[in-house]
């Protein structure tokens, strides 16, 4: 039966022969290794440091590339397969490169009731990229449609990288945010 199919909300599975994008970096810096060791020492089991180590890897490598996962496995002496399993489970580990400013728009019910869907459309239009498409040509922007960011009372809500939310985002505010990004007033993605 031929009927419309919903859009792929999670990352599309890899096609046969398709590989995850590679990152330039292959190894952790010495400081990052120290940081990971310090985190692992806090838990009774070093496996527990997988999530924090992947966050550090994403910061260092720019995104969670296969090399980043391998580096995490090496740093913690845990199986590479385990790290891949974890990294592929959680949506905040970006498996492909993102822009300098990763724009995350919530379109869940509360935000949608106050215009989240329209905000996402506008963000895509301004940034010139579709959600999940990777960085724009100038490398500045990437867009992601995310689920509830816990700003339901003040939606629609936009999160830039890991920074503070901007709430009640309308067209004027979106312009302000994007200008502020260009001026470097927001923390960059890999910082």
């Amino acid at each position: 039966m031929n009927h419309p199919m919903p859009p792929e909300t999670s990352e599309a599975p890899l096609a046969p022969g398709q590989r995850l994008p590679r990152s330039e970096r292959k190894e952790f810096s010495a400081e990052a290794l120290q940081e990971i060791a310090a985190i692992a020492a806090k838990y009774p089991d070093k496996l527990a440091a997988t999530l924090p180590a992947l966050h550090i890897a994403q910061r260092e490598f720019g995104f969670t590339s296969l090399d980043a996962m391998k580096a995490v496995a090496k740093a913690l002496s845990i199986p590479e397969g385990h790290v891949f399993g974890v990294a592929s489970f959680y949506t905040m580990y970006q498996k492909q490169p993102v822009g300098k400013y990763h724009l995350q728009v919530c379109t869940n019910i509360s935000c949608a009731l106050s215009g989240g869907a329209q905000l996402l459309e506008k963000v895509c239009q301004r940034a010139g990229v579709q959600p999940g498409e990777g960085p724009s040509k100038d490398g500045l922007w990437s867009v992601e449609e995310v689920e509830c960011l816990a700003a339901c009372g003040s939606g629609p809500c936009l999160q830039v990288n890991h920074d503070i939310y901007d709430e009640y985002v309308d067209e004027r505010k979106l312009d302000e945010i994007m200008q502020a990004c260009k001026r470097g007033e927001y923390r960059e993605w890999a910082k």
């Binding site: 792929e8 924090p52 489970f89 959680y90 009731l113 869907a117 700003a151 339901c152 009372g153 503070i164």
Partner: protein, 455 residues
């Protein structure tokens, strides 16, 4: 370091808030960006008074006090917190047990934004609650699991923990009581399912956030194989006021079996969305009309989701329901996490339903077949109805799907998806039928679905 400097536009108060009738126990100083420090907490909000009081009591007496207060877990299930604490095994002369307290700050339920306010404005109240709860259960390590998106709040909480440690409120031999405690903040990475307690434990242990088979329950075998208690941020933040005012006094707030105050998160089509800390048992229409100012669009309110996205919707007939755990359950929904989402007359229920089901289909961990496949099928069928290609049979298929998902999965995510699906289809079936026969929405006004990506 990213301490928030921009003013937060949220509404935290209403006329009469802070009076005896509507006591302010959880949102003290909310909205004031300088409120989070240890100094302000100690000087203005009776900070760490309860902790000093509790450390002089027997651990069992602290648990008893919380039991007397009758506080029920604010995370969703509404399980009595004191009872949960008393399940933790005690040390025997032969064997010393390592116990853990885990705080669930994975606030992912659509419509809920209370934990965020506590972490933003009163992180010390949470830390004080952690100390008291850990002392009551004699746990020496407390993990606070916070969702990955809240990076700036994690940094803030870590600073607050440093402040408490410098004052001697954390670490070895707290204030000479002989009790040691360390709090470790663990950052999640964007998975709604990690709000489920055993999935959260897996995530804490560095695994995929897949819920575990119960039993064994966490009180027997939890984090790192040790007895563990998992409480919501709001539940633990309510502990200092309970100890300060005494369990019996706290129990007088709210209704008999649903004592205390809770933070209602009101969002959607109301004039004053925001956080409202209220005693349990106030009628929903009073909260919506008197406090939140009624509909913001001038249209009538058609439906309300009373307890976060997973709760079955209320239509007009149920608007007078008192908002406490038991009354909401008796009315056919659940009080859940306290997220009240208001939908006005112009909202298409098919779109609202599709948006919610898409969320569950996306967030299903994939472990149990009924949920993984069922949620995806519900999404596909709803998508097809929304795009005008549905048939009337589809509605029966949807109705037959929900009882095959709910109750047949390891955790409550399957049930959560069926809550809105089943209730919306039952109460607003005419809108679904209209979509099938007329190939368009029954009402037009709000477009809830973005037209981007590959549709």
């Amino acid at each position: 370091m990213a301490i928030r400097t921009k003013h937060d536009p949220q509404s935290y108060t209403f006329a009469g808030f802070g009076s005896e009738k509507y006591p302010n126990l959880m949102l003290r100083g909310a909205g004031d960006l300088n409120n989070w420090t240890l100094d302000v907490y100690e000087q203005k909000h009776e900070g760490y008074v309860a902790m000093k009081q509790a450390l002089k009591m027997e651990p069992v007496a602290v648990t008893e006090e919380v039991k007397t207060s009758g506080i029920r877990g604010r995370g969703g299930a509404g399980f009595p917190a004191g009872l949960k604490w008393s399940f933790m095994p005690k040390d025997t002369p032969e064997r010393k047990i390592t116990r853990y307290l885990v705080i669930n700050g994975d606030e992912g339920e659509p419509g809920t934004f209370k934990d965020r306010a506590i972490l933003e404005y009163n992180p010390h109240q949470l830390i004080e609650g952690c100390i008291i709860a850990s002392y009551a259960m004699q746990a020496n390590t407390c993990y606070v699991y916070i969702r990955g998106e809240f990076l700036w709040l994690i940094e803030k909480l870590e600073l607050a923990i440093e402040q408490a440690r410098a004052k001697g409120y954390l670490g070895k031999n707290i204030l000479g009581s002989g009790f040691d405690l360390d709090i470790i903040v663990h950052r999640g990475a964007g998975a709604y399912i990690c709000g489920e307690e055993t999935a959260l434990l897996n995530s804490l242990e560095g695994r995929r956030g897949e819920p575990r088979v119960k039993p064994p329950f966490p009180a027997a075998k939890g984090a790192f194989g040790q007895p563990t208690t998992i409480n919501n941020v709001e539940t633990i933040a309510a502990v200092p006021p309970i100890i300060r005012m005494g369990g019996a006094e706290y129990a007088k707030l709210g209704t008999t079996k649903n004592s205390g105050t809770r933070i209602f998160c009101i969002s959607g089509h109301v004039k004053r969305p925001g956080l409202y800390e209220l005693p349990l048992g106030l009628p929903l229409d009073f909260i919506l009309n008197e406090l939140a100012g009624g509909s913001s669009t001038g249209k009538k309110i058609k439906a309300v989701i009373p307890g976060g996205a997973s709760a079955p919707v209320f239509s007009e007939a149920e608007f007078s329901t008192p908002m406490d755990f038991d009354s909401v359950r008796n009315a056919g929904s659940m009080a859940g996490s306290g997220g009240v989402i208001v939908l006005d007359e112009d909202t298409c229920m098919v779109q609202a339903c599709l948006r919610l089901i898409r969320f569950y289909a996306h967030e299903s961990c994939g472990q149990c077949t009924p949920c993984r496949e069922g949620c995806n099928w519900m999404e596909m069928i709803l998508h097809r109805i929304e795009h005008g290609e549905g048939t009337l049979e589809d509605l029966d298929v949807l109705a037959s799907l929900t009882p095959r998902i709910a109750g047949r999965t390891l955790c409550a995510l399957g049930d959560a998806a069926c809550g809105p699906m089943e209730s919306m289809l039952k109460k607003f079936r005419h809108e679904f039928e209209h979509h099938v026969t007329h190939k368009t929405c029954y009402v037009k006004g709000h477009e809830l679905l973005a037209k981007v990506g590959a549709h």
